[in-house]
Symmetry: C2
Subunit: 324 residues, 2 copies
Amino acid sequence: MSIVRADIPTLDGARCLVLGGGGFLGVHLANALVRQGAAARAFGRTLTNPDELDDRVCWSCGHFEDSAAVAEAVQGQEIVFHLLSGSVPGQPGQKPISDLEMNVSGTLRLLDICNAAAVRRVVFASSGGTVYGTADRCPIPEAAATDPISAYGVGKLAIEKYLALYHHLYGLEYSALRIANVYGPLQSPLKRQGVVAAMLDRALAGEPLEIWGTGEVVRDFVHVDDVVSALLLAATYDGPHRVMNVGSGAGLSINQVASDIEAIAGTSNVPRIYRAGRAADVPVNILDISLITRETPWQPRCSWEDGLRDTARWMAARARTRLV
Amino acid sequence: MSIVRADIPTLDGARCLVLGGGGFLGVHLANALVRQGAAARAFGRTLTNPDELDDRVCWSCGHFEDSAAVAEAVQGQEIVFHLLSGSVPGQPGQKPISDLEMNVSGTLRLLDICNAAAVRRVVFASSGGTVYGTADRCPIPEAAATDPISAYGVGKLAIEKYLALYHHLYGLEYSALRIANVYGPLQSPLKRQGVVAAMLDRALAGEPLEIWGTGEVVRDFVHVDDVVSALLLAATYDGPHRVMNVGSGAGLSINQVASDIEAIAGTSNVPRIYRAGRAADVPVNILDISLITRETPWQPRCSWEDGLRDTARWMAARARTRLV
């Protein structure tokens, strides 16, 4: 895993900033960038796994709301990867306005900074799982209606529209990837995002799995290595499509995910706990990835079976390290 | 004009708030509400034409950013008409973030207030002229892609999405009308919005007309009385369509509008002044109004010829009053 692939245009020598570079996806991306020969800086609130960040990546600790810190990090960069999000989908009790102020306002301040710093391109991690809402077709193509049922989704969609506006008004280049449910090594089991990590963690500890709703909701799980490849591609792709889906191309019910995880952990006999569903959960989400696979050399290469095994191995090793 | 029509369900006795009730469209709407027997309160920063507001309308002066003032105005209301906007399309030099903070954040605070006050429905004046951006078909149906090229348009679109979210999460009822270019009596000739009023004002004063760009951009001009009828309908319509276009169904080039105005004012021999176009202007905008005309008894009833004459008469009378 995490191999630089020959079919991806190189970012060798490019100065790249990863906003949200202390998180799960951000660390993977920053590491891949320096492995490609790019100069990478990672910016974020906390570095969850300090040992996992490649030594060649320059780490900046800062808040997204702190415009001076963001401006300092952006200074001199050519490509800005924007993976930051101050909220997660379906956070209970959170008012839409806090998501708006944290994520959307923050991104507009960022875009003004990028404009002033003559950044070449902004690559934005949008959310294929939330911008469409309850889709009328499946798999969901980019042209489908976008009617989010979570503040997180409305915020991501608004950011996409503002990116297009900044491109129109000021010529700022951008790519927005509507990414499905990412999973893989380094994902924290303690956050509400990342059902695979949360379940693996419990299963490996011999605990019963917790499922929100009936478990029949279907999600599109894509391995973090595949998402990193897509983000790298988006940094150099110069075709006409600025918004593209990134997923595995297939769906799994949460119950199926649970069964696969229980099989790996050997806990198939432990009963599951089913909890009340959440209003922000759509029943089915599988992304149509034909646009990106047609437009670029990108393909999802990591199968669910390999990806899950790989993630379980990492998580088991992490649990052992913790115990030592 | 301004007649209560038999085909519109009545709001008799309903407690209604008009946010932006001191402006052009707001005064017309508030007056129509009290004529229908509703109890109407108008809220806004300034009351442009105090003499024109019906005495039965209760006027509250306040800023949209002042949540306490908004909450006080919303208290006890059943229907809230949201016509407020702190910015206009294509305002030069204005950063998208100021539109976001003024209009979108303000609206989310409003929706929280409406929720807490158990308001029955929010009727929102969205913008048919900006939410679609450069449309790929004409006339533009509601299902067309929404890719605004102005901050104003992105803000209006984001508000539509948040309305749908509040409906989904909290059950707050809403209607959003995507309104074309409104014109008619009471429109100020001094604001950047309202090309008909601005041109009429200059023509009646014998001054040359100013046109942004080549004058070949096409717009859909709808008379304020027709828009008021649509807003009243939207307050009681209980069909499945929460977002509907409101326009005249036809387009006019700015040069055609200028010619019609020069003909009325008798200034056809005065040369026009053409100024550089604006990045936020789309070339053509004509709304497809088949959805609202199919779903409701609404029709645009005021022809361009009648509407323009009516507006010119009002403006000439206003100019005379000013001179006295």
